[in-house]
């Protein structure tokens, strides 16, 4: 991992960003997101006839003067949004310069930071080897964010990838409680679609961040090679030449397009990232453009 995943410059660029969430939030904690429940915010919602027991202070006297009836002014409530950041920490994420894992942790930190800024509640969960493990939970303020940063920086990569099993094993995600950000290279034999479908089943707003390394987007291979899978140990022999690389790029494009199309069909936000890209720029430009951040 090269350098710290979060620094002041990075923080300053993300200060005004927050994760976009269009639907009303219905969590039990107060926060900065509009909720369907009535509350005491300054945002007017509706009128209602006075009932016995209502607070006199909420009676709209102007309405009484006009209609000679008591009407109560209703205001919207604001609730806290739950943001689940699922970061793939399998062995395959350790590749690249900087590594995909570094980029994933940097993104996770960015999303966590944005959630703190918008009074949301973030949690970071690592996915590897078919299981999920919380890295940092209950990130609601800067102190907890900094504690989380330390854990993110220290998070190791190990094991294989089985996104569906790993996502299903996440106990903290409750139906309809917020946003799930999935950070992965999606190099998974068992596929990513079941995992996304499961998250959608839980009525999560899903943001899929597909992280690839420069070596994967522009491989620099040549000659007779035995390629060994870092997670399974399986190998295949190839003669890497112009033709092979051309076919590889086509396969990569097909795979990426497939992910994009799938996300589009399911209403999942899709953000492709190369690990050597400037994460802040990615979020500000492509993330903003894709409607992931606001």
């Amino acid at each position: 991992m090269s350098g710290r995943i979060f620094d002041d410059a990075f923080m300053r660029r993300l200060e005004n960003l927050s994760l976009r969430f269009a639907s009303p939030v219905s969590s039990s904690y107060g926060g900065g997101r509009r909720s369907n429940t009535r509350g005491s915010t300054v945002e007017f919602y509706n009128f209602r006839e006075y009932n016995q027991g209502d607070d006199f202070r909420r009676i709209d006297w102007n309405a009484y003067a006009r209609f000679e009836k008591f009407f109560i002014k209703l205001f919207l409530d604001e609730r806290q949004l739950n943001i689940h950041i699922l970061a793939d920490t399998s062995e395959s994420m350790s590749f690249g310069e900087p590594s995909k894992h570094f980029a994933a942790m940097r993104l996770a930190a960015a999303f966590a930071f944005m959630s703190v800024g918008s009074q949301d509640r973030a949690s970071v969960i690592s996915l590897s080897g078919g299981f999920s493990e919380p890295l940092a939970e209950g990130i609601t303020g800067m102190p907890s964010f900094y504690r989380a940063l330390e854990k993110l920086e220290a998070a190791p990569t190990s094991g294989g990838t089985d996104l569906c099993a790993e996502v299903k094993s996440c106990r903290g995600i409750r139906p309809g409680d917020g946003v799930t950000v999935l950070l992965s290279d999606l190099m998974c034999e068992s596929g990513y679609r079941d995992a996304i479908d499961y998250l959608l089943f839980l009525r999560q707003q899903v943001v899929l961040v597909h992280i690839l390394s420069p070596e994967e987007t522009e491989p620099k291979l040549e000659g007779r090679l035995r390629l060994t899978d870092s997670e399974t140990g399986a190998f295949c022999d190839i003669t890497a030449g112009a033709a092979a690389l051309s076919y590889y790029k086509k396969a990569l494009a097909d795979y990426t397009d497939g992910i994009k199309e799938y996300c589009l069909s399911r209403g999942v936000y899709f953000l492709p990232v190369v690990s050597d890209e400037d994460i802040a720029s990615v979020l500000l430009e492509r993330g903003f453009g894709a409607g992931i951040v606001q």
């Binding site: 994420m93 190099m187 390394s213 994967e216 000659g223 390629l227 060994t228 190839i238 112009a242 396969a251």
Partner: protein
């Protein structure tokens, strides 16, 4: 195609070495990557889009393998033998009897050979020459070094297949002698013989396809107490089969037999019940085969008429015994006192020992031994003391003295005689004639100018030899030998005494006159029976007796030709000029070297492309 340097093929050992090198070298560089997910898809796509991908992976190896093989081929110097590359083509066509075999109905082997030679003639280049040699019993250049394909074709069309054997060896010697130094010559031999040859510049085209032939290889007739009988020998050169044989007596079918004939085994067949008076017996196979010329054979039954000789002598015991022992003539002896002019009638030979009749018999040859008085240009003068005999420098000396050791003959005394020019001296005793002979009026006279009792001749082995020589000179048979000849043989015909006409009836029924004029001879071109006849007109007193002497000549094709494929081997002389310097052929190594160069370029290009050099 042949390899001028076959040892060069050992270079092919580099092929397994290259393969071993590849197997040992074939190590992949290990690269750890995040996941094989995309690379497996890549591999699937590559194999789906390019089925030869696996081959393409080894393209370098294949190119190198090809280069090694081609280099090995180039070292072994392959060469194409083709008449297209020769300056001159010499075609030898076997025109022996076996080439008349029809392996396919209507087309003889000879026809096929001529057709192929014509095809070569049609393909002659402008600067190419062609020679055609017919190899029969004699070797005949049909056309020599012709650049005109039309002339060659015309010469080939005029070729005829003979009925004799083939002198292939001399034909090859002739062909080799026609080669010019520095020129490439291809010799093509069309034959049906299984020649064993290691020639590099000799192309043998075997026109034989079948061996299914049966032949009557021998037939002889004789007389026994129970009558005439014949012995025929039939041989089957093809697969085992039953052959039906027929016997014809003077052209009339008399008998037939079925004979089991195993392959390659002569089977004797005896024929009896030959009608009395039959002169000619013919045995033939009932069914024809690929070579009909040897399917029948004839033989004459020996004539039992007896020849007689008359010895006029007082004590001619030696001469009587010698003549009867040597010739088989019936010898009769009379005393000189009983001699009359008609005593010699009916005799084929008269021998006068120490007696000279007043008038020599005109109808038969006479031997005059120790003549006591003048006769027919020979005048005895006196008796001289003798010594050893020697040969006179005349042709007669070689005829009468053949196989004799004349110096071993010692004369005690002999008669000095004066001979006129009609006489030819055979032997000399000192410088005087001791034996002489002459031919007059179709009659032979031989004179021995000494008494046998005054010499050691009767005690020597030279005595019967001399008698035989004298008989041969005096009583010539029409032809020498047993009367059976191979086709193509030219037979000299002896003109008998008092012969006025010599003629022959050929197998096809036509008749030709052989003499007069000049010496007679007949060439036995076709197989079959030649009936040779001489009309004899012998004067006896005022009367002229006319007789006809007949002899059967049997011509048959050589036994080797019936065997269809006699195995032969060329002599060293025929091989003498064989060359192995690649002339008459196109060496391919320059082309292969060029191909190797191209391959190496391609290999370099593929290498650069794969490794992005």
């Amino acid at each position: 195609m042949e390899f001028l340097n076959p040892w060069g093929l050992l270079s092919l050992l580099a092929v397994p070495a290259l393969i071993a090198l590849y197997i040992l070298r074939q190590k992949h560089k290990e690269v750890k990557i995040p996941s094989l997910l995309l690379w497996k898809k890549t591999q699937t796509m590559m194999e789906a889009s390019t089925p030869w991908q696996k081959l393409k992976k080894n393209l370098l190896f294949i190119l190198q393998l090809l280069a090694v093989i081609l280099v090995a081929l180039a070292i072994s110097r392959p060469a194409l033998k083709s008449s297209r590359f020769a300056d001159e083509i010499i075609v030898i066509i076997d025109s022996s009897a076996s080439m008349r075999a029809e392996d396919t109905p209507g087309k003889t082997r000879f026809d096929i050979a001529v057709r192929e030679a014509s095809a070569i003639a049609d393909g002659l280049r402008q600067d190419q020459r062609m020679t055609v040699i017919a190899a029969g019993s004699t070797v005949t250049p049909v056309i020599s070094r012709s650049e005109s394909r039309y002339d060659v074709r015309a010469a080939l069309e005029g070729l005829k297949c003979g009925l004799s054997g083939a002198d292939l060896e001399n034909a090859l010697v002739l062909a080799r002698s026609m080669q010019n130094a520095g020129e490439t010559v291809e010799i093509r031999l069309y034959t049906d013989s299984d020649l064993i040859t290691g020639e590099t510049d000799l192309v043998i085209v075997n026109t034989a396809k079948s061996r299914e032939n049966a032949a009557i290889i021998n037939l002889s007739c004789g007389k026994t107490e129970s009558g005439a009988m014949a012995l025929s020998v039939v041989e089957n050169f093809g697969k085992d089969r039953e052959i039906t044989l027929e016997m014809l007596c003077d052209g009339v079918l008399t008998d037939a037999k079925n004979v089991e004939c195993p392959e390659g085994t002569p089977v004797p067949v005896y024929w009896k019940n030959i009608p009395e008076g039959t002169k000619l017996v013919t045995v033939r196979t009932a069914s024809s085969d690929i070579l009909p010329d040897d399917d029948s054979l004839s033989a004459a039954i020996p004539d039992d008429s007896e020849s007689k000789a008359l010895v006029v002598s007082e004590s001619g015991f030696f001469i009587q015994k010698a003549i009867s022992a040597v010739s088989g003539l019936a010898v009769y002896m009379i005393d000189p006192e009983n001699w009359t002019d008609s005593s010699a009638d009916g005799y084929d030979l008269c021998v006068f020992d120490s007696f000279v009749p007043d008038k020599l018999p005109s109808g038969c040859p006479c031997w005059m031994i120790n003549p006591t008085k003048e006769f027919d240009g020979l005048v005895p003068v006196t008796t001289l003391k003798g010594s050893t005999l020697s040969a006179a420098p005349t042709e007669l000396a070689s005829e009468l003295g053949e196989y004799m050791n004349l110096p071993s003959v010692i004369l005690a005394r002999f008669s000095e005689a004066v001979l006129d020019d009609s006489w030819e001296t055979a032997f000399l005793c000192g410088e005087y004639p001791a034996a002489a002979a002459k031919k007059s009026d179709g009659r032979v006279l031989i004179a021995l100018l000494f008494d046998l009792h005054d010499s050691n001749l009767p005690l020597l082995k030279e005595y019967p030899i001399l008698i035989q020589n004298m008989l041969s000179y005096s009583l010539p048979v029409m032809t020498e030998g047993d009367g059976v000849y191979e086709t193509g043989t030219t037979v000299d015909v002896n003109i008998l005494a008092y012969s006025v006409k010599t003629y022959a009836k050929l197998p096809d029924g036509s008749e030709v006159t052989l003499a007069p004029p000049g010496r007679a001879s007949i060439t036995l071109s076709d197989p079959g029976v030649y009936i040779l006849s001489q009309d004899i007109e012998r004067r006896t007193g005022e009367e002229t007796k006319k007789t006809t002497v007949t002899r059967y000549l049997i011509a048959k094709i050589p036994a080797d030709e019936s065997a269809m494929s006699p195995v032969g081997e060329l002599s060293d002389e025929a091989r003498a000029d064989r060359r192995a310097d690649g002339k008459g052929q196109l060496e391919l190594w320059p082309y292969i070297a060029a191909a190797v160069l191209l391959l190496l370029c391609a290999e370099w290009w593929v290498y650069c492309r794969e490794n992005k050099l």
